[in-house]
């Protein structure tokens, strides 16, 4: 049951998009220990804490979770049992959520060291082929004029997307969990081909929805603020993947794109477009 005094604040998403090796993970994670080389995730924490430390008469609860989507399967990167696959569910009141996803909850002060532990977590093994989502939820409780506590909740999704280089042409929209090697040669991918025939027509067979876009749907468009960081490498081709199109459709005109060009080991240049 939800507390009637809980209101939703703003949601935000930062997406790192680009081909493998162009610096997405470096952008999102960076080197946690080195203040010069911190990525978006540790910087976000720092930003949250700074803001919290400057507040008065408010109580904060910060909650963080870290998951990976690989071949349309969801894994909890903070869980002890890494082999367990998690399910995506929907609640009519609160929207999309992951069942049994663990999160660490900390009252403000101690989060720093915990967060660093996350940074040194074994990065998902398949980083170029999976999406990693680090979510920070901040709850702020404040006594209102009526003397009651009012709670506002905001969520920040920090998404390190899979490498955007196009999947092999013969494979179809996605990889099936069953035969990981030579997908395009295996008849088990026939389903992908058939789905592609039905895609975009009026009759909708729903089980092909992408887990990533479902999970992020309340953080894309509408009231949410979305920022996309596109990383490029010297050999980048502009090849569309289905994910790009999906994201572009969801974001529409609402996303600001920050371009990060990795020109070499030492130089970064930023262009806002």
């Amino acid at each position: 049951m939800r507390s009637p005094r809980r209101r939703t604040g703003f949601n935000g998403t930062i997406l790192a998009y680009g081909q493998t090796g162009t610096g997405k993970t470096y952008t999102m994670q960076g080197a946690w220990a080195d203040p010069e080389k911190r990525g978006v995730i540790p910087s976000s924490f720092e930003h949250v804490f700074t803001h919290i430390s400057r507040s008065h008469n408010q109580q904060y609860l910060v909650r963080a979770s870290y998951l990976e989507i690989y071949q349309e399967e969801i894994r909890d990167l903070l869980a002890k049992d890494q082999s367990k696959k998690l399910e995506l569910k929907e609640n009519p009141e609160t929207g999309v959520y992951i069942k049994d996803l663990s999160s660490f909850v900390e009252h403000v002060m101690n989060l720093g060291s915990q967060a660093r532990a996350v940074g040194s977590t074994n990065m998902n093994e398949h980083s170029s082929r999976s999406h990693a989502i680090f979510a920070i939820t901040v709850e702020c409780s404040q006594a209102g004029p009526d003397g009651e506590d009012h709670i506002r909740v905001g969520k920040l999704n920090l998404v390190d997307l899979a490498g955007s280089e196009r999947q092999s042409k013969m494979g179809g929209p996605g990889e099936r969990p069953k035969e990981a090697s030579k997908i395009n040669l295996s008849l088990s991918a026939l389903g992908n081909v058939i789905s592609a025939l039905v895609d975009g027509k009026s009759t909708h067979v729903p089980y092909r929805d992408s887990k990533l876009t479902r999970l992020l749907q309340d953080s894309l468009g509408g009231n949410a603020k979305t920022l996309m960081v596109a990383t490029l490498g010297p050999a980048s081709h502009s090849r569309d993947s289905k994910l790009t199109r999906l994201l572009q459709d969801s974001l529409g005109g609402n996303a600001k794109t920050l371009m990060v060009a990795t020109l070499g080991p030492a130089s970064h240049s930023y262009e806002e477009s």
Binding site: E90, V193, A196, S202, P206, D218
Partner: protein
């Protein structure tokens, strides 16, 4: 052709096909694969025996394969050829050919290669949806019936490991529910296609067309059908019987009257219940709602076949009863799109019901107060939901957008138009109230006209409504003046 010297047609061409496709040269790939296909057909025609498997050239005499194994591998290579061709045609956007090759691949999977029953069933069910887009109901039904039969094989296969997990059971239930959803779409599409062929230019059942089509049906030969059917038939003879039995439970020809429509409706409704068992509201909000929307659509299209207005009204009431509770529980922040769809559908349904009550009322000599109350209440509920829909389009600062996005343009305009009309339908004996209603009506008609002036590109989306709105904008002020004049001696 000398058997010993010939490599199985499939292998080389298949590999070349894959190679060229990975280089992005789809047309070249197509050439190789089509030549593999032609070679297979030619070979089978000229020489029944399977050729040597390429590996056999490197095997010792005693290790070479039995004829049966050779045949199996040979056929499997050909199945792959067809499968790769299906992908090639899909990339070349030759959709019909792609579907045909997918179908044949599925067929061959049943006959030659191994297959996972659940996966096969899902693929067949998905393919049925493709056939629906082409209005090929016979093929669609065949795929779905086959899906049912093959899926039931999954439950029967005893699992080697006893630890069939909770997850596996869960997966099975989900797959079954997904197949049920494909059936729902089949029933719905069949009924909607029937409606299209029967309706006149105001959306009512045209009895002349009905008799025409019924007469045509008796004449039409089954020969053409039989030919098509043979081309797509799945499986061996024992499978055939089971599939046939399933097919006989639902028609594949367009229903032409209420009785026939109701039978299709009932099949669809059964599958709704089946699907909802798995896709429950709490847990699968979006899926559940889509299923209920389909259920509502089934009622809507059945109502078309129902002659009696009162019974029609009851069908629409069923729609309200299933949609409204869901809508109330939904948080629009997370389900904006669905929320809007439900608002609009609820409004439209109440609107439809109101129109029916008015029509019923017109047949009576005099409108009794009960009917008047009913009409007004339905009208007001329709207005409420159209307003909610329009409100959902406002930006966070509660301002109505200057320019409407393409996907909401027509619904928003229709909402405004219907509200205008609804205010015109409200029945009241209070002159002042009447004047207020006319004023509201006028405001909404004016909005439409003004918007189309400011945004001429919007006109084509709502031509009919715009025409009527312009008329009303012209007529209403005069009517209002007359009414004011009538009332003023008594003020």
């Amino acid at each position: 052709m000398n058997t010993a010297l010939m490599l199985p047609p499939g292998t080389t061409e298949n590999n070349l096909g894959i190679l060229w496709s990975e280089r992005g040269e789809i047309k070249t790939a197509q050439t190789y694969l089509e030549s593999a296909e032609a070679l297979y057909n030619q070979y089978m025609k000229e020489n029944g025996n399977p050729p040597l498997d390429p590996n056999e050239h490197f095997m010792a005499e005693e290790e070479t394969l039995a004829d049966q194994e050779r045949s199996k591998r040979f056929e499997k290579a050909y199945t792959h050829t067809l499968y790769y061709l299906a992908q090639v045609y899909q990339h070349l956007e030759m959709i019909e050919k792609a579907a045909q090759y997918c179908h044949t691949t599925l067929k061959r999977q049943l006959e030659y290669s191994g297959y996972y029953p659940v996966e096969w069933a899902l693929n067949a069910a998905t393919l049925s949806q493709y056939y629906l887009t082409k209005q090929c109901f016979m093929e669609s039904r065949h795929c779905l019936a086959a899906a049912n039969v093959i899926f039931s094989q999954a439950g029967q296969v005893p699992s080697a490991e006893d630890n069939e997990t909770e997850q596996d059971q869960q997966d099975l239930r989900q797959r079954k529910a997904e197949i049920a959803r494909c059936w729902i779409k089949y029933c719905l599409t069949l009924l909607q296609s029937a409606r299209k062929s029967l309706e006149d230019n105001i959306g009512e059942l045209d009895p002349d067309r009905q008799s025409e089509l019924k007469a045509q049906r008796k004449k039409e030969e089954d020969e053409k059908e039989k030919g098509r059917k043979k081309a797509v038939l799945f499986g061996t003879s024992d499978l055939c019987d089971s599939i046939l039995a399933t097919e006989e439970k639902v028609s594949c020809i367009c229903p032409l009257d209420f009785q026939e429509a109701r039978e299709v409706f009932l099949v669809g409704q059964n599958y709704v219940h089946e699907a909802k068992e798995f896709f429950q509201f709490d847990g699968y909000v979006t899926d559940h709602i889509e299923i209920v929307q389909d259920h509502s659509a089934l009622f809507k299209v059945l109502a078309f076949f129902e002659e009696d207005y009162e019974r029609r009204c009851k069908m629409h009431k069923r729609r309200i009863d299933m949609l409204e509770p869901m809508y109330v529980d939904l948080n629009p922040q997370f389900y904006l799109l669905i929320s809007r769809q439900l608002q609009f559908e609820l409004a439209d349904t109440y609107y439809e019901m109101m129109d029916l009550k008015v029509a019923i009322g017109n047949r009576l000599e005099e409108l009794d107060s009960h009917t008047i109350k009913k009409i007004n209440s339905l009208a007001q509920l329709a207005v409420k939901y159209y307003e909610l829909f329009l409100d959902s389009l406002r930006n966070p600062d509660k301002i109505f957008p200057e320019k409407l996005e393409d996907d909401v343009l027509r619904p928003a305009m229709v909402a405004k138009f219907h509200i205008a009309r609804l205010y015109g339908k409200l029945i009241t004996s209070d002159g002042k109230k009447q004047l207020e209603n006319m004023q509201s009506s006028l405001e909404y008609y004016t909005f439409l006209v003004d918007y189309c002036e400011k945004h001429p590109e919007a006109v084509q989306a709502i031509e009919t409504e715009l025409e009527l709105s312009k008329e009303m904008v012209g007529l209403l002020p005069t009517r209002m003046e007359r009414l004011k004049a009538k009332l003023s001696p008594f003020s």
